[in-house]
Symmetry: C2
Subunit: 172 residues, 2 copies
Amino acid sequence: MGSPSLTPTSYVVLGLVGVFGPCTSYTMKQFVSVSIGYFWPFPHSQLYAEPVRLAELGLLTEKQETTGRRRRTYTLTDAGREALRDWLAEPSDDPTEIRDLSVLKLFFGAQADDGDVVSLARHAVDAHHRRLAEYEQIAANPGIEAHQRKTLEMGLAFERMAIQFWESVPDP
Amino acid sequence: MGSPSLTPTSYVVLGLVGVFGPCTSYTMKQFVSVSIGYFWPFPHSQLYAEPVRLAELGLLTEKQETTGRRRRTYTLTDAGREALRDWLAEPSDDPTEIRDLSVLKLFFGAQADDGDVVSLARHAVDAHHRRLAEYEQIAANPGIEAHQRKTLEMGLAFERMAIQFWESVPDP
DNA sequence: GGGTACATGTAATCAGTTACATGATTTA
DNA sequence: TAAATCATGTAACTGATTACATGTACCC
């Protein structure tokens, strides 16, 4: 039982089609760019390639326009909805990966030239401020679904923490 | 100017050889598993494959034992040290990626069965507690280099934040 | 009606992962 | 000396990224 070789990206697609109902890759792309894309980034080409695979596996159905843009609309099958629900039911043990080049550079800071770490920290503070502002703008929309808002709160908390952290770096 | 097509992993290797001086892949592996491996994970095979590439590029030199384990010891060349320093000097604009399957599942929580989100949160609290304990144990060692300790503090701050966050999830 | 931005995809490449495999060393 | 574990690698595969390419709609 269970699903053969679905990646996180697969479930993202299943989840998105679940959220929207029948939709196209572009619809997903738009939504991703202001939501999960912030903490689980991937190129838009995946949103075109992955649904094809999922359709082959019988987890989505595909209907292509015969006219105009000939875009493909995807719909969850029962099997797809079940695969998604199974995945959601199983708590994850994989640890969080925080991939941050600035942190990586900080780690090797002893080998940097004087001043480089300080300017690294300054840039990071700026970047996290900008990111925080983006999140706050998104959060200002009152219509966000509860779980998605919760996720956003994680983002907000992270950015605030990161700002505090990087502000503390230049000091002894 | 600048380096042609070095990945973050490349710089990790350069940085590690810089930290240790001449060393083998296994030495790197050991250190990675209690330091950067926590927030920038990758399989040990990379630590065998990547130095070969870097040696071809002239950024490392390789010396292989002729006897016993025939292990290869790598050393930074001047070009390698310069490439590393250049990279460290340029502040990164790439945003942080927080890859966390639990957060991803939370995001799609509206489509989960009753109770699944709550148990997801419980598992996450546990996992982050365990991770925090590991970090604290590492931090107890007084001999850690300053920048590395700073990085560890980021990890500590993140885990504390994550615990707080996930504890808040089951509630309204 | 021409330019520009939005929209929709495909093909090739490659870094990273998985899986395997064996050699060396320690320990019981 | 057998077994277990540590150490050292390689080969194949593939998901993801990069780069390209073109179609459609809108705006000036």
